[in-house]
Amino acid sequence: MMAVQHEATTSQLVAESPARWRLDPFGAMRVPGVVFASERLLAALGDDHSLAQVANVATLPGIVSASYAMPDMHLGYGFPIGGVAATAVDAGGVVSPGGVGFDISCGVRLLASPFEAEAVRRRLGQLMDVLAAAVPSGAGPGGVHRPASEQELEQILLEGAQVPVAQGHGDQRDLDRCEDAGRLADADPDQVGARARERGRGQIGSLGSGNHFLEVQVVEEVLDPPVAEVFGLHRDQVCVMIHTGSRGLGHQVCSDHVRGMRAAMNSHGIEVPDEQLACVPVTSQEGRRYLGALAAAANFARANRQWLADAARAGFARVLGRGDLPLVYDVSHNLAKLETHEVDGHDVRLCVHRKGATRAFPPGAEELPEDLRAVGQPVLLPGSMGTSSYVLVGAAPGDAFASCAHGAGRTMSRHAAKRTGHGGGRLRDDLAAAGIEVRARSLRDLPEEAPSAYKDVEEVVEVCERAGLARRVARLRPIGVVKG
């Protein structure tokens, strides 16, 4: 059932601070919208309709506090990319696959290496060749690991990164430093359909395409030395950042459950202003099924990144003689999770949707591993290809249910990026001249990920900090890119 879609423009926004803007409720909005942005980032939104999506999300049954948008917001499906919304589980609050996105538990993993930049630079070309060959990417099947049986795939859906670690493809720190210790509880593989399994079976340990990547980076600047030390980072250190998710399996889970929810919404008396906002109460049978499938797909994503980390370590060992690259952190930016947060002075059980937004728990959060609890959760914020990425840390008290941006955020369509660029070969050469070795399967589509197609990551990070979402810890610059 469809309700009327909202129209909204930046002229409706009221500045609460230079980094926090309010969209007062109108139409069917149950709560305000809140956008974290600078005036420049707001201007960059143009007419991409993402603000209308913020308003549409504010109509979801059971939504509390506000419909939030991070500084890297841009147009998504149903939810904007960079959207955060929480619903009260025990007050009819809904869960919506549109609030998670197609790529369930898409996320970022950062590995630290024992090498300084100079030691790697001498053999960078060879290292990138080896990594590009070792890390499957692009369309279709292909992964570093093929499950031996249907039972093993089932185990991956239930246990996530614990499976590769148990098989010797990782160590205990890989689990300690992964969100949810590498495994989301309450996974229900029975809710993952045959096509989803089939798509996933051949893609374990693969990047995919689009904006996914594996980058070799150097810590260029440490902005918070004590916290950086706890995270395991120091200046001039070489790191590896991996960005990918649950591949075709997660996409199929999203497609299958959106379809089921569209059919079920009527029986729950729910109307939404956008078909991709299809949703059902968290506590309904359909809601529980989706959350079970979501957890299973998230476990698949963590296992995927674990196998890729193992491949990257093997590549370092082969070229540089050492493959001990401890995990700094692994965190998702497409997920819905049941969390307890304070709302109007009371602790409330919430279903927190983060779509293109990163969880950013502040110091003291019980969910964090012991060694991180005193400082807060690492937040990994990759820039666009060829620009800096940031490691931040969740700030107290935080905002938007402890959430932060997830990247630079696109500002230009893939079409426009291709039209305005100079072709993939020129872009690759330009990046090489800037000291960045790019390995891409196809130069044709490389300009789609050109830095000019994205917002300024420095500005996004600045707004995150000014809005109190997270604090900067370290800035990393890429020296090698394997494009998905």
Partner: protein, 142 residues
């Protein structure tokens, strides 16, 4: 833009992060055929590539559901190495449609572009326009 007759064709349109496929044709089935090839052309150039396999897919549901399901079939086949269509024919059935897909191996298509991974219901349009030409617009997650 491709048009093998004046009143049918397809093209891709800019979207901030993903791809929008637009297609049109004199009938619902012609429009579905164009949309299918429009999707393929977001990641491959099938022109001049022969087929080596054939599949038949029966689809039911609303017009919009037929469109989503046909495109999802292509995404599924790409992800599981079950071929990429180089030609599509869609015929009406009492309920829904039957689609014939003439398929090639993805390795015969050269370097593939950014892969489609899902079909969105957001901003999905499919139906006849005021002059009776069937038109669709569908956003594909990449």
């Amino acid at each position: 833009m491709t048009a093998d007759a004046a009143d049918r064709g397809h093209r891709t349109v800019a979207h901030t992060a993903d791809q929008i496929v637009e297609a049109w044709g004199p009938t619902r089935e012609a429009c579905l055929e164009e949309a299918a090839m429009g999707l393929v052309e977001t990641f491959a150039d099938p022109s001049g590539v022969g087929w080596c396999d054939h599949a038949e897919v029966v689809l039911t549901g609303s017009d919009e559901q037929l469109l989503v399901d046909l495109l999802e079939e292509i995404v599924y086949r790409l992800d599981t190495d079950r071929g990429v269509p180089v030609r599509v024919r869609v015929r009406p059935r009492a309920e829904g449609v039957r689609a014939d897909l003439w398929l090639t191996d993805r390795r015969r298509l050269g370097g593939l572009g950014v892969a489609p991974k899902g079909v969105a219901y957001s901003q999905l349009d499919f139906g006849p326009d005021p002059v009776g030409l069937w038109r669709c617009s569908v956003t594909v997650d990449v």
